[in-house]
Symmetry: C3
Subunit: 363 residues, 3 copies
Amino acid sequence: MRHSIADIAAALGLVAEGDISLTVAGIAEPASAGPDQLALAMRPDYADALGQGQARAAMLWEGADWRSYGLEAAILSKRPRYAMANLSALMDRGQGYGSGVHPTALIDPAAALGEGVSVGPYTIVAAGVRIGAGSVIGPQCHIGWDVVLGDGAQLHAGVRIGARVRIGARFIAQPGAVIGADGFSFVTPEVSGVERARDSLGSTGTETAQSWSRIHSLGAVAIGDDVELGANSCIDRGSVRDTTVGDGCKFDNLVQIGHNVVIGRDCLICAQVGVAGSTVIGDNVVLGGQTGVSDNLRIGNNVITGGGTKVLSSIPAGRVMLGYPAVRMETHIESYKALRRLPRLLRDLAKTQKSVSKPDESD
Amino acid sequence: MRHSIADIAAALGLVAEGDISLTVAGIAEPASAGPDQLALAMRPDYADALGQGQARAAMLWEGADWRSYGLEAAILSKRPRYAMANLSALMDRGQGYGSGVHPTALIDPAAALGEGVSVGPYTIVAAGVRIGAGSVIGPQCHIGWDVVLGDGAQLHAGVRIGARVRIGARFIAQPGAVIGADGFSFVTPEVSGVERARDSLGSTGTETAQSWSRIHSLGAVAIGDDVELGANSCIDRGSVRDTTVGDGCKFDNLVQIGHNVVIGRDCLICAQVGVAGSTVIGDNVVLGGQTGVSDNLRIGNNVITGGGTKVLSSIPAGRVMLGYPAVRMETHIESYKALRRLPRLLRDLAKTQKSVSKPDESD
Amino acid sequence: MRHSIADIAAALGLVAEGDISLTVAGIAEPASAGPDQLALAMRPDYADALGQGQARAAMLWEGADWRSYGLEAAILSKRPRYAMANLSALMDRGQGYGSGVHPTALIDPAAALGEGVSVGPYTIVAAGVRIGAGSVIGPQCHIGWDVVLGDGAQLHAGVRIGARVRIGARFIAQPGAVIGADGFSFVTPEVSGVERARDSLGSTGTETAQSWSRIHSLGAVAIGDDVELGANSCIDRGSVRDTTVGDGCKFDNLVQIGHNVVIGRDCLICAQVGVAGSTVIGDNVVLGGQTGVSDNLRIGNNVITGGGTKVLSSIPAGRVMLGYPAVRMETHIESYKALRRLPRLLRDLAKTQKSVSKPDESD
């Protein structure tokens, strides 16, 4: 499917210049763009590569001198990265799951599907499920007992949603995502070594062997609108109340959200992050890849953690954190610069002590 | 389904006081409990929130003055956290998978199902499989060739068990768990840079490009009784012998257990933990979330690691460890306190050296 | 199935000595080997355990005095670890998936299957898919629209491949692996706190709440020959161009490869590694378990990272790295030795300052 430069600019609410009747069949990076592709050059240093490709049109920043790159047409944007969101939606050819309910899909008679819902092959929809209008349920999914899924959901292949989970509108789940597995909650008949180690910060006392008894997860998961969950990511059900996720949160792949966790709105949770049980996270929080957050903590609004940060205590709002244990990013950078100088310092100090002690010897 | 306070207390072996004929339909946290829910208030600070809710009955600690909270009945426990295990089992409404073998389940004629086994839709049970009595095999699972599964197993949606894996009684696996994938074992024709770096602790020598040859995993996985495996977690098969897991071990979500690993009994392995090949772990070990354990190590009984610990060498029994590289928790705390003071120390030392060297200048 | 020592040696291109007509039914470790198993004793310290088992034949290192261990026959190898690769392939009994296309497999009429391709039950092959000769597609897989899969592929249960992904010959994917999920790419209407924190290394400025808009992933994934992907691992599709993986790369379980990442040839990516978007990795790189690599970095050829390494900046070719943030392994070891001495140093320094300042007092 081809789009004219004029049509693309109109769809994105942007200004087009030059031969706006020119059409393109897709988008590409500047150096590899063919003559029927719109090149994306968000910044001057990207635009320099336009000469290596064959693009006749490009999306550039506001005020770009697009003619100087040999282009015939251009779409100009104040924030091209943001314009990319709409442009990419326009160009997405999707996964081609097909429409309607596939004959092999098993829909319980006591489930209610909204208008225009499609369900892929070998997917199972249990009793009491309600799925909102326009949802695309991919192949080989399992939607458990009494689950509520809002309008416009997109579940990719093999998504599993456990009983009684409630999810808002426009939910997207990548393949293999699991919402509503049981929480990881176990208890020993007597006080355990873990409980003692927590109290003493290190000592377990005399340990006697004990087996773990399972605390069943009676809560479910409650998820707001416009949430996206990555491939093979997991959000566990709560013990008594629900695990909850606010509107607009986005989770990357292989993320783990423990039981009873509460997450505010518009958070960005990057790949392989783990948040342990009962931790409360504010709004607009960004957790970098492989961040770990211990249980029962409070993470304030707008907190940002760098990749690999291990959060062992609560964080006030607005902080940017890094390291293990997590400290303010500036503190981390200063400490690690000092740590690298430490071996030399130890050698210097040995000399200093010698020079200080020598006079004493001559006393 | 409603339960009287008397019946709940009897089922848990606990003492009930007040109007024990009062019935409840579920459990709740103190602040959000309705009039027909049993509130859970394990500690006095939780009980203070009873006033915000409408609970008429609660489970409290032994000796609690329950009437002072305006309750009509109470169940009292010496260790309410442990009582919660039985209470939650009593109240769990489950996933509603249905009974019997679903007509779409593909059971090989050479598989043997025990009494009362249920198998969900689109599940595959291969030749030679034996499944113990009373097991609930969820939808869309795959149970490979010659697998043995003990009595009372519960497999949730999409669990995959590879050929020849043997598992004891009462196994629980959350959605997407994989038992018996191939181990990650590769070898180069000549000694590789990794082997040289291990020997030299850092230098790889002159590297020539080599491709990796696959070592097939001929072993399987052997798992004891009462083991639970979290969503999307993986336990790989052994190279020659089996990877083995003892009775009573519990694994959270997204855990990775490498080939040939041996784990003792009653271990608690938290989310996103990774244990590399051939490591041996004792009994009653607790590995905190995102802990990593290198290959070929020995972890003694009762060892506990804090969240994010990276274990690069063996650990004697009973230690509580933290950090990267893992050290005793006390050592870690002391070192990191010192590290934060280090930048200031460097500045102080510069001054000290100045004051020491000044007299020398006047020599 | 039994193999004679002579046949095994011939298949591996190795020398056999002693009673080479002796047959074995499998392989085992020295201490647990039965009389009809070939023991594997790659090094003298392993061979010492032969006396505890009942092996009559073993595979040993070149020049081993095999008769001294009471063996009747031996296969000798200059590099027994490498010989193990071929031996294990010979002995592997596999997963027994069965041949042919299962009647429940849904193959779109517009898909093309090569000669001898088998497809397991409940697997879905979409329109436009091409699968190379001799491939074994396991049960419950999903192969999306226009995917190309080379000859001799082996997909285990529940593998998901998204639309337009292209993969070379001899691809192996363990259960639950996901190739071609959408990349994790979001943008806010105005400059976000994350962007500001990156520019300032720590300060987010005044934060105003913003929601995230999705950038659709228009690229796919392009994978070379002889690649293996572990259980529940994920390789995301690119934003505009493809995410690419070179020939011979091996990925362990629960690995995350972000959008636009480029990986060279013959890399070994261990379990739970995460590589963030747009990072470029060279050839023959080895990333140890739980390594994290930030986005937009360059990792040179032959780089090796130890377990748990967090790479926050680019690495030149040939380096062996460890730690968080990643530094050369030697630097890391030296720094951490110094860190452990730091608390004592602080005490010593306090004394030194005292002894230096005392004379001043007497001035």
